[in-house]
């Protein structure tokens, strides 16, 4: 039995030992990194299996909550934990053969910090602790984005840094506001005392949290850093930003709104429309992009908007759909960014024109990219279809006809630019077959396998999604787990 807390502590500790490993042997760094992430993955699997029989409460310093920092892993945390560590593990394999600018050990150090921070964000049960992990994740991410130290990377990094710090400051302000009123930082404890808050305080706190966490969750208009940062960053970094980091930010936002603040109708409506506007703006902006990486960055923003929109609907069914959509977004964007990284090695620049015929040159990569994109568009029998259709079904259940039409419109736009990209990939005939190393394809293959598997058996996920959605809806249950009965 592995305590989930180790998945935070070990990466943090090893991250700071990276210089020593580097001094020992420069090649060992990436293996140490892989080993740590593999351990995290193992811990995530173990935790996930344990969560099936009931939520886990981990206390620190031997004091029962609400007095010390505690971790609480319910069905939602377990699911995201598994997803994050699984994806990070695949990225770690992908990084084995990647070209990384010196000093390599710093890159891996930042990467480990980032994974540790994101893991911490989804496991912690303490609001201030959440802020700390948000900062760890954010600061390591700024470093990672600017790591290439070229113009684009630095530009993206700095923009992210500025917006990110404003965001986390606002978040901290929100935390302070709550603390001043209820005198506790434990999320379950605050949730139990939220009635003590006057309405204005509640709303002000919500605004702080929304804007603060909206930066990480890529909500409009706080998401302006995304295209620059995604385009400038190292490919794997872009992948982890788009999959893990954005979901960690989203989780924080959802947890705060649904559990801590109680989901008021006004809050949910705002989430719904913010998500919808984010979706539409991002899809429209992606339409005329020439650079494929930037285009996918916009698409990533759009997908986050879609997920937030679904959360904003707030029904149990919609929450499941939102979580499913989030899972699919992780899978698809992982595939897209990694396969794009492989393509980028063969051509100069990722402009669409430069990638003409790349699907003939790299048939496997091209196919995997196409499957990832088609899943995102919702081609039947790929996992993206099921999440999209369930999302639309829940929209219809609530009779939200206008948003439904807008989501469909956004889907058409998305279909257009993805299919155009795929079309360009397969244009032309005189290209030599030069497929890349298998070890780099392996992570993408695994992701695509999951997409196909879920495409034919989406029901496999259903019970976990349901459990996670119930955890969000059932506030008193969550409070009960932490404050009341659960044995650590």
């Amino acid at each position: 039995m592995v305590s989930p807390i180790l998945a935070i502590v070990i990466p943090l500790a090893i991250a700071f030992l990276m210089p020593f490993f580097s001094a020992l042997s420069r090649k060992s760094v990436k293996w140490v990194f892989l080993a740590v992430i593999a351990f995290n993955f193992y811990a995530a699997i173990m935790t996930f299996l344990r969560v099936l029989s009931g939520p886990i409460l981990v206390v620190t310093a031997g004091i029962k909550p609400p007095f010390a920092i505690n971790l609480l892993i319910g069905p939602l945390g377990g699911l995201l934990f598994l997803l994050f560590e699984g994806v990070a593990f695949l990225y770690a394999i992908f990084l084995l053969k990647a070209e990384i600018k010196e000093p390599v050990h710093r890159f891996f150090m930042l990467f480990l910090l980032n994974v540790a921070g994101a893991t911490g964000m989804i496991l912690t049960g303490d609001l201030f602790n959440l802020f700390v992990f948000l900062e760890i994740t954010g600061i390591s991410a700024y470093g990672l984005v600017g790591f290439k130290r070229d113009k684009k990377g630095l530009e993206g990094g700095v923009k992210y840094l500025i917006l990110g710090s404003v965001g986390s400051t606002l978040f901290l302000l929100g935390v302070a506001l709550l603390y001043s009123q209820v005198g506790t930082l434990n999320m379950a404890d605050i949730a139990g005392r939220i009635w003590m808050l006057k309405k204005p305080t509640l709303y002000a706190a919500f605004i702080m949290f929304l804007v603060g966490l909206g930066v990480e969750a890529e909500l409009f208009p706080m998401n302006a850093w995304v295209p620059d940062a995604y385009e400038g960053a190292h490919d794997t970094v872009t992948a982890i930003l788009s999959t893990v980091l954005s979901k960690a930010g989203l989780y924080a936002l959802i947890r705060v709104v649904f559990t801590v603040l109680s989901p008021q109708k006004a809050f949910l409506d705002l989430l719904l429309w913010a998500g919808l506007i984010t979706l539409l703006l991002a899809e429209l902006s992606a339409l005329r992009q020439k650079n494929v990486k930037r285009m996918i960055a916009y698409s990533s923003v759009g997908q986050m908007g879609l997920v937030v929109f679904a959360f904003g609907m707030g029904s149990l069914f919609a929450l499941q759909a939102a979580l499913f959509q989030a899972v699919n977004h992780v899978l698809s964007k992982g595939v897209l960014f990694l396969s794009l990284a492989i393509m980028g090695k063969k051509r100069e620049g990722l402009e669409l024109e430069n990638l003409r015929g790349i699907g003939r040159e790299l048939p496997v990569t091209g196919l995997l990219f196409s499957i990832g994109a088609l899943s995102l568009l919702g081609l039947p029998f790929l996992s993206g279809f099921w999440s999209k259709i369930s999302l639309l079904l829940s929209t219809a259940d609530l009779k939200l006809w206008v948003p439904l039409g807008l989501v469909l419109l956004a889907s058409i736009i998305e279909a257009f630019y993805y299919l155009r990209t795929i079309g360009v990939f397969y244009t032309g005939t005189d290209f030599r077959f030069r497929e890349t190393a298998f070890i780099r394809l392996l992570p993408v293959l695994v992701l695509v396998f999951v997409i196909l598997y879920l495409g034919f058996r989406p029901g496999v996920l259903a019970p976990y999604l349901k459990g996670a959605a119930k955890e969000l809806v059932d506030r008193s249950g969550y409070i009960g787990w932490v404050i009341g009965g659960l044995k650590p």
Partner: protein, 599 residues
Amino acid sequence: MTFWVIASYFLGGIVAYVLARPSRKIGAFVALLFSIYPLYALIPALDGGFYLRFTVIPYYLHLSFRLTLLGWFFALIAATLYSLSLFSAYSEKRDSFFLLSSMFSAGGLMGVFLAADYLTLFIFFEIMAFFSAFTFIREHRRSALKYIIYSLVGSYAFLAALLVINRSTGSLEITPLSGFGGSVPAVMSLFILAFWVKSAVMPFHPWAPSAYADSPHSYTPFFSGALSKSGVYGLVLAFFYIFAGFFKSHHAFGYIFAWIGALTALFAGIYALLQDDAKKLLAYSSISQLGYVAFGLGLGTSLSITGSLFVALGHAVFESLLFFVIAAVYIRTGTTMLTEMGGLIKKMPISFIALLFGIIAAAGIPPTVGFPGKWMLYEAVLEKGYPLLAGAIFAASITAFLYCYRLIYSIFLGPLKKEFRDVREAPFPALVPLLLLLIPLLFFGLFPGYVVDVTDSILREFGYLGVPHTPAKLLSGLGTFNGLAVGITMGAAFVIAFLVHAVFSRSRKVSELNNYTAGEVAEGVSMHYVADFYKFIERELHGFLKLRVEALFNWIAEGIGGLGEVLRRVYAGDIQAYLVYLILFLGFLFTLYRGVLRW
């Protein structure tokens, strides 16, 4: 069994894809085997439908299939055409990915015809649309994208309709809908949009000419003859089954739809006259024929519906035949442009004969499959007593004569082009579909009653009376048509004329090169006057031709693109601007909640 009818295509697509990599022959052969199985399975299933439900997805959704007579009718057409198109594809040396995507599209089409619930219908509709676009997205990205976007607009409208239906009835099963009050017209419009687009009835046709022209030549017969039938199928289902109650009580709707169909038939016929690309000509011809179908469905009498279904069958036979001929000609000449061809009659006699019969049917002349359906439509509109509508549909049939003549003249008649002196008849596999399609073309023309047997059963399922008939004879309120008698008369007339010609004519045989200039061979001058064949019509209709609905759709697309270009500037790349956004958003939120926040 229904499961295997569909699965055979998907399985076959994958197997053929794998096997076609090492050997194209084996791949094509395997694809053919897998595409023949559904035919074999479907033919005996004529008597009665059966219902099969299996849950592919153990989520809250499931797929279900059933075989109805209507679905069977269309599925059989589609399965036949697909198998035939594989012969042509083999001659064209199509690659493994083509086999995969075309088989998947055929499987999707089968799923549409056999679906028992809306979601299944939607799923297979999507698969069909995507994979049919994939057959030509590599060579002709623009037209493929255009096609897929039109399709998606239609199918998402359908999706919206199915969500509304699911919300109000709690079920996705395809059953007649009654109730939900005043929103029926809206739901029905959303519902039929997808099928309207797919059957390329105006004004949602602009995707069709470019998609038909640019799709692989061997795939176009299936594309035009079978895939578009999914649209007809959906329209029939909507008008006479799902929304039958609404449709019967609102005659105006049917009347308007009949007009849309008639105008489609007429306008598409006129556009067809002016095309230089043989495939575009046929594409407009195809749109025009489906206009007849829509017209008949709109009229909504037993005779007109039977007529529509008959035209749908006839269209599948002769339009595919014509496209197959173009595919065969293309294999040898490398062009589909009418102005670049000419005089191929002696070089490709079998193709010529096939095309000849094809255009006879397309022009609606007995005793071919093209006539009985149109006869029934004319009778139906006269019975109903809509003179203007009758005028429009008669005018449409004139355009068919004109473009058909241009087609055969430009390709096969006139002087032979120098570069085609060594052209041979198309390879045998490419001729197989031509020869095989001649059989139904003549048989159903002589014995239309066998088709009406099936359509009668379909009509009875929808609560309509059948059309009185014997195997060769059709009866309407105004008269009778005897296919066999007409056929014998026509055949006899042809034999007599031929004998007269053989005995009394004093013609002298000259080479194709000198019959235009009285023996003077003018080298380097084109003697084949097809370039501005219908110039006078173009001149007369100049003003009308400028009115193009496509321009409107393009304008909308441009507008969305332009909006994207503008909105892209929101992400100006300027951090100060971003900070301003953030602050403005904060301000906006505080204003939004000002009522609550005042303390």
